[in-house]
Amino acid sequence: MMKIYSTPTCPYCITLKKFLKEKGIEFNDIDVSADGKAAEEMIAKSGQMGVPVSDIDGQIVIGFDKEKICKLLKIEC
């Protein structure tokens, strides 16, 4: 299942999650503001400290990069 690292007040995280819900894509939403270990995991995987970060089967997407996410999920944008 796709993983999303996010914070609760991040507007782009919310837009991303809304988009995925509309497309019927299931995801595991990890709140890095509450979970320090998850924050470290996100930073290690993405090499940076900005949210959102998506992990699609090991492929990392930083930010709400719609085109890249659609391509990796093999869906129409």
């Binding site: 914070t7 940076q48 400290m49 900005g50 719609k66």
Partner: protein, 314 residues
Amino acid sequence: MNYELIIIGGGPAGMSAAIYAARKKIRTLLLSTNLGGQMLESYQVDNYLGAPKTPGLELVNKFIGHLKNFEKTASAGAFDLEIKEGVAVKNIKQAGPVFQIHTTNDIFEGKAVIIATGKTERKLEIPGAKEFEGKGISYCATCDAPLFRDKIVAVIGGGDAGQDTAWQLTSYATKIYLLNRYQDLKGDDKDLQERLKKEAKIEILSETEPIKILGDKFVSGLVYKNFRSKEEIQVAINGIFVEIGSTPASLFLDQMLRCNNKEEIITDHNTGVTSVPGIFAAGDVTDSAEKQIIIAAGEGAKATLAAYNYLKNK
């Protein structure tokens, strides 16, 4: 696809313009990269009528909810408004009596246009600024502040946004340096300024500017200069939040409209009229003296009402 009115920009100016257009039964298309615009990153809005101490995102959702009532699909065709999100406009061309709006994948035609594209944040341009973007440098505290829990951070910018950011960070960081190029904090929230001055975690560094950002894989230090003493001082930090103002999002117009020396669209503030008949402008992208959500919303309404009269006479 042909429309009577095309609105470019989905912040408060664009959304207000779209509601007015729908209610005037104008066949309208609203194009936006991200509905809400700059407001999305506002921590808290307390000066919009009817919305006391409201998180920016929450206020945006209220605006969007209201706006979408007027969508063609939601109103069973009672209103003729189409909204396309995630769309970036590349340029505008005039083709006889219509304007062609070129996006990445499409061309839309409209008899009148309202530009409400707002502003884009100014980026830091000192050594390390590009290298460490995302690696300790953030331009969005509402997004990234929680990642700096128990860390030391610096906020560059002593205006409203910088003060807002510093305040947000007090929930997470252990220490916050607030670099202000002026002697006093600017902006209109005097209450917040008092709170910042009293907050033990915050050290306001007046008359300073950042010189260099240091680090290895991530930010670990900042060198700043004090204008008065001429000293250069280095501090150890883990994060930098930048709020140094913004520039009008008018570059895509490619000089089609007259702009002032700040690249703001010169606009008649009674009507939103610009230097090209049929093109109107509203909100932060214009030369409006003040850039506020409530002012942008008002200008959006004015622009649509003027566009309506323009279209009636075509």
